[in-house]
Structure formats: C-alpha cells, structure tokens
Symmetry: C2
Subunit: 479 residues, 2 copies
C-alpha cells in the first residue's frame, strides 16, 4: 500500500523557513577541513550537528579518529554517529554525509559572503557547503523533525555517519567504517548517501555506478642533475623527449585508449543498458555549458553519457620535474615524471589493467632504444562501483522521486569516484544508493556554491518519502 | 719581435699571495644580484672594484642604470667603467666582466662557507664568485699592478666594463653599451671577455662561437576552466593530449630535429672546420662526468663537440598549466603551454626558423583535427655568434697561451649563449674574443664553486701576455 505522506509533506512546507534557518546556522560555521586554522570550526560544526541530533532525540556519539597523519599536532575532527529509533520491526537505513567544506574566500570571486547564506529572488541559496554537503545532511534532520511535528511515525531506524574530513581525503574514515560495520552499523539493511548531484537542473536522479581510477606515473631519468640546454643540447639523450614520445602513445585525441588489452576488458553494452540512456534528461548544451566550450569528443547525448559513465577514459594530468612556471627556462630536466590516470569501469580488473599499462609502456620505451631509465608504477587504484538499480533500496527511492517530483528519476552513473561508497558496500555487505539533493548548477567546490530552495525543501520531502517507501518494499533481496 | 714577458711573469709570481688576498676580499662581499636584501652588498662590491682600480691609477666612473624594472623601489647596481692609459700610439682593448654572483647558502650543500675563500691542499680556492667572475675580473687588476711593480710599460690602453647584474639578466646593460659605444668605449680596437671556461682542466681555450637560442611556447586551450577527469574524461578533447602529440613530433631521441627546413639552414661543415675538432682536448669521459651519466647521444668526441657547438639542438623544457607537483591530481588542464627551444647556429636566420616552427606546428595540429585552440609563439630569440679565429685579437691570445702554458689553445665554441658578446660586437663593430680563465670543473652556479690557484695566477699572466701580443700584432684587420 502507498504510504500516507501528505501530513509529512505539509509539515515540511510549514517548517521550510526554520529548515533554511538551520542551514544558515550551518553555513555560518566555516568548517574548512583543509585549513589548519579552521580546524576548531570543523569541530564546532560537528558539535552543532550533534546538538541538533540530540535535541531531536537521537542517540549521538562524537568518535575521535586520532591525529591527522603528517600533522601530528592536529586532531582529526570526530565522526558524528547517531541512531534514531531502535525498533526491531523496522528496517534500518544507514545514511552518510559530511559536515566539512571546501575552502572559500570572498577574494576568490564570490558575489556574496561565502559563509553567510544569501538567498536571491529566484530562491538560490548561496553559501559554502550549502549543497556540498550541509544541505543534504540537514535534510535528514529536517525529515526527523517534520515527522515529529506532524505526529507521523518515523518509518525506519536511522543510523547516521557524518564525517568532517571528506574534502581532505576522508582521513581515517575507512578504518572507522570497517571497525563499526559489525558494531554501531551492524543493523543497517541498506545505505543511502546524499552527496552528489542531479545530471541537470529539473529532473532528479538515482546514481547506481561510479568509475574507478588507476593513477600512473611514468618516471624517466638520465643525467645526474638538471642540465643547461645550451651546453648539453644535442649531446645528451633528454628524458623529456622520451617522455613526450611515450605520452603521445597512450590515447588519441578522440579519447581512444591505445594501450592494448584495456578496451577489451570493458563489459559489453547490453540492449537493456543501452535503453537507459535515451530517456535521460541531458543535452549537449548541458555539456557545453559545464565545459565552458564546445570542445566535446561526441556530438550526441548517448555517446557522451556512455563515454562518461560506462567506458574507460585516459587523461594526461601533467609532468613533474620539468619546467612548469611561466616564462622561459633553458633547462634539460634530469628526471621527469609523466602522470596519467585511467578511469575504470566494469569488468576491468585493476591488476590486469596495471599489467597492460606496464607492459605497453615498457615495450614502447624499449622501442625508443634510449639510454635513459624508465620506471612506471601505479600511484593509487580505486575500484569502480556498480549497484543493482533493481534492489528495493533503489525502487523505494524511485517511488519517492515519482511521489515528490512527479517524474521517474534518471538512472545515472558518475564518471568520478566517491570512494566511501565502496567502503560502505564492502564493509556492510549491503546495497548502497546515491540519492542526490542538489542540481548540476550548484557549483560545489567552486565560487558561488548554492543550493536551490526547491531542491532543499522538496529534497527534504524526498528523503522522508524514500524512508517510507523503504519500509514498504517487499523483503525480496536483489542486491 | 716577441715581447719580453719574464719580468712581468716573475712579478706575478711574487705577488701571488697578495692577488689571492684581493680575491679573498672580493669573495667576502656577498654580491648576490638576485637577492634584493643583498643589493647593498652588490653596490659595495662595485665600490671595492672602483677603489682598487683608482688605487692603480685608472680613471673610474660608477654609472647608474636607473631603477630595476618591475622592482621600482630598487636601484640597479652601477656599471663600473674605467680607463687605464690614454696613449694614442697604443691599441685600446675593452674588457668586460661582472662583479655580481649567483646565490649561495651553506645549507645548499657547500663544504665550506661560500663567502669565505677557502684553499685546499691541491690549491683549489673555494668560494662563490671565485671563478664566476671575480677571479677573471681581478685578473685584469692584477695584471696592471704587476706591470707597475715590475716597472714594465703597460702595452695597451685598457677600457673596463664591469657590471653588477649579469646573474640576473644584465638588466639595463645593452642600452648602456649601445650608448657608450661611441663615447667612453669609442677607442676600443677589440673586445676581450673572460667569463667562460676551458673545455677541460688542463688545456686553455679561446672561444670564437656561441649558439643562439629561440625559445617557443605551444599553447593549447579548450575548456573554459580546468576539469575533473572523472566527470569529463572521455567526453572532452583534452588540450594535454593534443600537446603530447605535438611535442612528440619535434625531435627524436637521437637529437634529430624533425621540423622541416631547420637542418637545411645549417652551414655545411668544411674540411677546414672539421680539422679543428680532432686536436681538441676533450674525451667522452669528460662528457660523462659532467652529465653524471653515460646517457650521451654520440659515442665519439668529434660528433659530440659538433652537436654541442655547430649543429642546432631542440630541447623540451616542460609544460606550464598542467599538474606539476608531486602526488596525484585528477585534473584535465584547460590550457597547457609546452615550452621548447632551439639552439641556433650559422647560417640559421631567426625569422626563417620561426617561420618553419610555426608552419610545422600548425600543420601538425591541423592533422589532429582537434576542436581545441592552438597558439604558437616565440618567447625570445637570441642570435648565434661566430667570430673569426684568425683575427689578430685571437692570434695574440693564442700566442699568449703558448707562452704561458706551453700549448696551442683549443679553438672552441660554446653551446650556450653569452648575449653580451653580440651586444659588444654589434655596438663597437670590433672583434670579440672570449678568453676564459677557469676550468670545466669550477662549478660556476653550483655548490662548491672554485677557481684553481694555477688558473688564477697563470691566468693573470695570460691576460697580461695577451695584451703584450695584442700590441705586437700587425695592423692587418681580418675581422
């Protein structure tokens, strides 16, 4: 039976101004995790969240993560974990978010004070952290409050995991999640993360996949020290020349990876999957707008989305050790390190990808017959993730979107990685859903970050409705 | 008739300790031109030189060069110019040197205090500026003093031009030389610069050529701002991919320039020139030692020296705008600027070189059929220089070397550029000779810079002897 959501929705609308006020208070705390000087504000933001949750009747703990690696004088901000409800007859949903934010200075070009929530006449609420990720985190708190004030029973037990270091590599979080998976988080039936974005501005989406990332270094060295190109140019084999030749053989400028074996590992496109792309609310103009140019590889939506989500890509990021400053320096760098990464997708196995990369680069370097020395290695590897969009966790979210927004959500993947997704999946063994609140124009990490009032208030309705549908979904597991 | 040099040589040997003391005083003044805080020491060093020259009876002026461009609160150090002797019946030789030095901190790895002349048991005199260029500059002063004390008539009129900004781009000097060419320097019959090095450690050389340098930027831009490789990898044409493809087509790793038209401009090797390379005191081990590796392109001396001196070379210096730091950053740079330079030689014309470079890079970029935007331009161009080693200026120096060291000097070129050489040649219209005092192991610009006692004392004899032979050379001009 369909849950009765009207009283809840009505209460959310009534409380909208106070929810915005909650966001205003949160944005006012400059919880910049990358800035040592702001660490006290990060801690203050965690305290704010904990207090709000306690006021709502949740059982809250602020769990220390120890010292910050490499900065031993600095405590990591605590993970705020909470339980709201402990009814054995209800499902338990574990939600994740983060309460730290990216740096922001008005001098960077903000039109308004970054730590003062400023709402324009179109309902755009500007402020650092508004969409990433304070708005979504507070959405869960708002949902609890609206249920209480509407006198509607909260449909699930809610477990919260809110961290304060996401914008600085989630230091210490993986170990914490792994340790708590069978303790504080042991009752979780599924996981929901609201920390990404709609593909556009009008239509909500559910995200069921992320690409992985294997990051490589190609180090080529020759002379004992940097050389003067006047004195040695023409007489020494230059590592930079070798590197340019190798870098030119990795990928063509249509995005085709030239390393044998890589493309062969990609899961074939099924008719079923192919059918998913057509209905997605996305246009080439959306891409051009976010690129800031028309320099796209494909000219159609389907190929663009597939290239972004379900095919691997290879990007050359830069060269370490060479001259990189403005101006002119006549150096022959003694050792250069070319950096590139491959975004990985099903069914690429990381170890096999590495093997193909190493073999190809070593073979190509051998063809150069250079006296220089090559070293190629993987700096880090992050696995791709794909969940089943047919799991009840997704069905519930899909029904909630339909209920709140009147449309079927787009089923999307992301080209980038959200490592905590895989950590939760692996640690809990449960289905993970990415359920975004903000839109593609929110400018997370940029100047003038914002969250639209509509996305925040309807998003709060969505989170609550999702929990109701979760409670109603049949128990058939289809992870 | 051969000049009678014995009394002069004997006096130089007698005064050796006081000459070393003069160098000690000069090294003790940390005249680092790149360091704003040290500007007063640069000025103090100019004052020291001026006082020493005045004490020797020279007419001295310290000429201001105005404010330092870009640092308008800072006066450029003065050019110290001097005239010693004003006899219409004598030739007039204009000598150039510089009294500023490279930065030096003991923390950089110096084995001794950099601004304290420290002499080891092999007569190696360590100290910043010892060989570059305080030793050679003081060599001229020593020569004057030894003539006076030996009661030997000074054979020429000497004009001095000693600057204090050589290690920081010789700010303001070109204009000064051009302005004084027909004034203070108008009597100069030839120019002698002692500011480079022997090819090895045993055999002196005379340097008659320098390569030029044209420095290029290849700017490729696409997106409006840097992109996240997860979100956009596979969908955007990446400027760095295009750049890698272009950079790979400039030069092969045997040093062969792949830009059509460049190699065709090089003056053919004559049998006469070819014969110059055989006798030169240089071995592959010398190259390996200075490279700090065996990663040489050629395995024989002749080809190595020709590649360094008389053929062009192309070096890729690096990439601006891409990720260049240690670590891993998953950026797609929006605009990247590849930097490379071509060392130019006779008979390459700079404008034609530029034309070939621009055409080739534009054509190669067009082949890529990229939506990105290319801009290729020359950052700066410095002309190559070759003097006639048959001019009396060189004959005189050659005889002086034979007299002092008992060997014919190597006739060398340099792979790098010394721009002031061309400035003097063009401004005065006279022959310019590079007459080095230090050896290849002196480590100018590096830690543990030194000048060997032998090079300093015999070098002082050489400078004096050179002036005597200059006075004796027939008046036949063969510039």
């Amino acid at each position: 039976m369909a849950p009765q959501l009207e009283p809840y929705f009505k209460k959310v609308d009534e409380l909208a101004d106070s929810f915005i006020d909650r966001l205003r208070k949160a944005v006012a705390i400059p919880s910049v995790s990358a800035d040592e000087e702001r660490r006290k504000d990060v801690v203050r933001m965690g305290q704010f969240l904990a207090s709000e949750l306690e006021a709502l009747g949740a059982e809250v703990q602020q769990r220390p993560l120890g010292k910050q690696p490499g900065k031993e004088h600095l405590d990591l901000p605590p993970v705020v974990i909470a339980r709201y409800g402990n009814d054995k007859n209800k499902r338990t949903i574990l939600v994740y978010g983060h309460y730290d934010v990216q740096p922001a200075l008005i001098e960077d070009g903000w039109a308004t004070k970054p730590f003062e929530l400023t709402i324009d006449d179109k309902g755009r609420m500007y402020g650092r952290g508004s969409t990433d990720d304070k708005g979504p985190v507070l959405g869960w708190l708002n949902a609890i409050e609206a249920h209480q004030k509407a006198g509607v029973d909260f449909p699930v037990n809610l477990l919260c995991c809110f961290e304060g270091m996401e914008e600085y590599g989630s230091e210490g979080l993986d170990d914490f999640i792994n340790a708590e998976a069978k303790k504080f988080f042991k009752d979780a039936d599924a996981v929901c993360i609201s920390d990404n974005y709609w593909l556009g501005t009008e239509k909500p989406c559910l995200t069921y996949g992320l690409r992985g990332c294997n990051y490589y270094s190609i180090a080529i060295s020759g002379p004992g020290q940097d050389l003067h190109s006047g004195v040695f140019g023409g007489t020494a084999q230059e590592p930079m020349t070798d590197l340019a030749l190798i870098l030119s053989k990795l990928v063509d400028n249509r995005g085709k990876i030239l390393i044998p074996g890589i493309n062969e590992m990609v899961a074939p496109l099924t008719e079923e999957e192919k059918a998913l792309y057509g209905p997605i609310a996305y246009t080439m103009d959306n891409l051009y707008e976010s690129l800031g140019s028309q320099t796209a590889i494909f000219s159609d939506k389907e190929n663009t989305l597939m290239a972004r989500w379900r095919y691997p890509s290879l990007s050359i990021h830069g060269v370490e050790g060479a001259f990189a400053a403005p101006g002119a320096k006549t150096v022959i760098p003694a050792k250069v390190i070319g950096k590139f990464s491959i975004r990985t997708v099903p069914d690429m196995e990381s170890a096999k990808v590495n093997e193909c990369v190493y073999k190809y680069i070593r073979d190509e370097f051998a063809k150069l017959n250079s006296k220089n020395t090559l070293d190629v290695y993987c700096q880090h590897e992050g696995k791709w993730w794909v969940a089943s969009p047919k799991h009840w966790n997704f069905s519930a979210a899909s029904k909630a979107v339909k209920e709140v927004f009147g449309v079927e959500p787009d089923m999307t993947r992301e080209g980038g990685s959200i490592p905590v997704t895989i950590t939760f999946e692996q640690a809990t063994g449960k289905n993970v859903l990415l359920l975004p609140m903000g839109s593609s124009t929110d400018a997370a990490h940029s100047i003038n970050e914002k969250l639209d009032r509509r996305n925040y208030i309807e998003g709060t309705k969505l989170l609550g409705a999702y929990l109701h549908y979760v409670a109603e979904e049949p128990m058939v597991e289809a992870k």
